[in-house]
């Protein structure tokens, strides 16, 4: 039997950088996904309210969110394109052998995404000239295209978890591909709904969190109230739903990927009456250091009875299962996700209770403090969920059919490390700049709200995407605008 060290020693040198690079780019991209999938929906909800009740505050919120959406969607598109490149640059072995089996999901994703790009362009740039309701209705298919895009991506990922829809010939190559069963794999349903709900919930908490901060700072106007209530209500309704879906998903993993479930729950030997460990570290000898042990609970959670048999990691050879470190990582990610989910439920109940009793927001400052943190917390759960599913599948890239090390590119490790370094620097700059731009927009809007709107001029500093385009409205040849004083900032502007 191979030990974990042997497994690592046999791995090609380029495996580590390839894996790190993929992990880094995916972890970055996934932070934008909730907004790509759900921000259009939340914005449209606010937009509808604004049009229906002729509410200027709601319309202003919708316009501002669409301004954020514009930048966010652009950054999401480019980090997503990088991922398509990385399938080839890092895992050509997987794509070469399995591309025709599971690639179709991506085909669906690509055109859903295309449609989304078209509709989002029309929505973002249609505010001024389209008729209000026409503009709104042209935006309505946006959330549907987002759901369709998620369908494609999750179909591909769930196939990697529970591959089917093919037979293997004598050389181990897939033949007799059955596309329908390759798309609708056993893990598809649970993964899809868990993912979709997570995206809406996260986007809701993050957007609401921004206004919770404003509320704490004493900005208790209708604008902040609306900005908080609409996204927070969406998220609060979805939180208990997500808890149920998540529970069902974990049980689906228990049935369909028992070894991954063993890693998530750090179960070493197959047994009944298995205890549940909250956190804790799995050791090489199968013992567990630290953590909170709850007797019988794991068996009960998996099969509703203490006598449920839970498969352990040792049921398969060491080379076919996650290492103890990987199992511990998957376990911690899983536990953090579940813990945060539990706390979010309490927050949602708090909100629901006050709403039912008084038709009003909770008065406690602590509620808004928690709501402000909820956004970051749910982004963390998204990361954790993804780590659980990806690390828990190790060492397989295609579960029980292809190891990560067989899929990796033959390109030299040095090139990959260099690329990794470049990508980290570029992403840090891009995400930093993205955050900076969004914060600058927020600061600008806040100044505008308190009546410090800067005088509009032709300076490049005021020439935002939503900025004035005086050239546009004046016909005929335009004289060059006067030279700018080198202040580099608009009077009364940010900072």
């Amino acid at each position: 039997m191979m030990t974990a060290t042997d497994v690592l020693a046999n791995a090609p040198a380029q495996l580590l950088p390839a894996r790190e690079l993929m992990a880094f780019t995916l972890a970055s991209h996934i932070m934008l996904v909730p907004f790509g999938v759900a921000l259009p929906f939340i914005t449209l909800l606010m937009h509808y309210r604004g049009l229906r009740k002729a509410d200027p505050a709601a319309l202003l919120l919708a316009r501002r969110w669409s301004a954020v959406m514009a930048v966010q969607f652009a950054v999401g598109i480019i980090t997503g394109t990088v991922l398509s490149f990385e399938f080839g640059l890092l895992w050509p072995g997987m794509m070469g052998r399995w591309g025709d089996v599971f690639g179709l999901g991506f085909g669906v994703e690509a055109w859903a995404f295309f449609l989304e790009a078209i509709l989002i362009a029309i929505y973002l740039y249609g505010w001024r000239r389209l008729k209000p309701w026409t503009h709104f209705w042209l935006g309505v298919p946006l959330p549907l295209t987002a759901l369709l895009g998620a369908f494609g991506i999750i179909a591909a990922n769930s196939w990697m978890n529970t591959p089917q829809g093919f037979a293997l010939d004598s050389t181990g190559n897939p033949v007799n591909v059955d596309v329908r069963s390759a798309v609708f794999t056993p893990m598809f349903g649970p993964e899809y709904w868990h993912f979709v709900v997570a995206m809406f919930l996260t986007a809701g908490y993050v957007v609401a969190g921004v206004y919770a901060v404003g509320w704490l700072r004493g900005r208790r106007d209708r604008y902040h109230r609306l900005g908080f209530c609409v996204p927070f209500t969406v998220a609060a309704i979805l939180t208990p739903v997500q808890f149920m879906v998540g529970d069902a998903t974990a049980r689906a993993v228990f049935h369909k990927q028992p070894v991954k479930f063993a890693a998530m729950e750090i179960v070493w030997n197959t047994d009944t009456h298995v205890p549940e460990y909250m956190f804790g570290r799995l050791q090489e000898d199968g013992s567990i250091k630290g953590g909170l042990k709850i007797p019988q609970l794991d068996s009960i959670l998996a099969g509703f009875s203490p006598s449920t048999q839970v498969t352990g990691l040792t049921s398969v050879a060491a080379s076919d299962r996650p290492t103890t470190t990987q199992a511990t990582i998957a376990h911690w990610a899983f536990d953090i996700m579940v813990t945060i989910a539990g706390l979010l439920i309490l927050l949602a109940l708090w909100y629901g209770w006050c709403w039912l009793r008084r038709r009003d927001l909770p008065r406690s400052r602590w509620f808004f403090r928690c709501a402000a943190v909820a956004g970051a917390a749910s982004l963390l759960t998204v990361e954790c969920g993804w780590i659980t599913t990806e690390v828990g599948r190790q060492p397989w890239i295609v579960y029980q059919n292809m190891r990560v090390s067989d899929a990796v590119t033959p390109t030299h490790a040095t090139s990959l490390w260099t690329m990794f370094g470049i990508v980290v620097v570029v992403y840090v700059l891009v995400f930093g700049a993205f955050l900076g731009v969004v914060l600058a927009m927020r600061r600008r809007w806040r100044l505008a709200d308190v009546g410090f709107a800067h005088p509009l001029g032709g300076a490049p500093e005021t020439d935002t995407p939503y900025g004035p385009r005086p050239e546009l409205t004046t016909a005929g040849p335009k004289p060059a605008p006067p030279a700018e004083p080198g202040t580099g900032r608009a009077p009364g502007g940010p900072e």
Binding site: V71, V82, G88, D100, I122, V177, A448, P465, E484, R489
Partner: protein
Amino acid sequence: MTADIVAWVLLLAVVAYACGGGVDYGAGFWDLLAGGADRGKRPRWLIDHAMAPVWEVNNVWLIFVLVIMWTGFPVFFQTVFTALWLPLALAAVGLVLRGAGFALRKPTRRLSERRIYGAVFAVSSLLTPFFLGAAVGAVASGRVAPGTTASADVWASTTSVLAGLLTVAATAFLGATFLTVDASRFDAPDLVGYFRLRVWVSLAVLGALALIGLAVTHQHTSHVYQGLTHGIGLVLVIVAAVAAAATGGLVAGPAAGWARYTSVASVALVVAAWGLAMRPYLVPTSLTVQEAAGADATLQWLMIVSLVALVLIGPALVMLYRLDTHGVLEPLTDKDIEE
């Protein structure tokens, strides 16, 4: 049969990306050469304005190309991405910088930041199509074959470099043509002349590069060269040359709007001719369409997916471009989001 049809779909997606993405890269190219903050202000204003609503859509074609490659022709995808690791990795980095530069420049107000984002956007608008073109050149040259590992040898050849330069010139030509038309659309007669001149310059460079390419690469790329200089391939190339020349004439005349169509036609026809010249190979002369094709069932579904895509995306795309060219798509103003 199915594989051939999917290969045509792939070629169509490449054509669409060459034209859509090409216009977009070309605009970035002219942004790069527009001069300092003052001198380049007007052309940059036009570039910003013309690109903003459509640039994302223009670049999504690339994802289509990649998806059809790995789903329809997995071995081809594996071969290309293994052998051409470096140019494709550089193109990917270029794509990130370009998109981020453009997207972040717009909402930024400080001049210094705008300069940095603008420079990043413009430089990578030059580098990305160069590396993508160089990768295509390397495939055409036949140096890529299944099992080839990444090395500079594969792509640092005359053919690759020329293909890269040709791609950049073609994007500059497309970009200048569209911007000439956009300039009249946005009522900026001074910029019409400005970009018209650039159409002619890029046309001349494009012609010169094409002639150099034909003269020096025929022994490296014998299969593709043969296809481009004989039969239907030759016809397409000649029609493309005529269309390109017509573009040069049209931008000077009263029917400048038509120049968009002729410029797109010229690029599309050249790409189509290249695709035809590759037949029956995907990688000449080591991997045919049939050998690279994925499972039959997948290819059939891929055709269905492409058909659905055509039905759904076609009208949406037409609507987007119509709204855009009719001036309906306009960014929100500060006033719209600050009160």
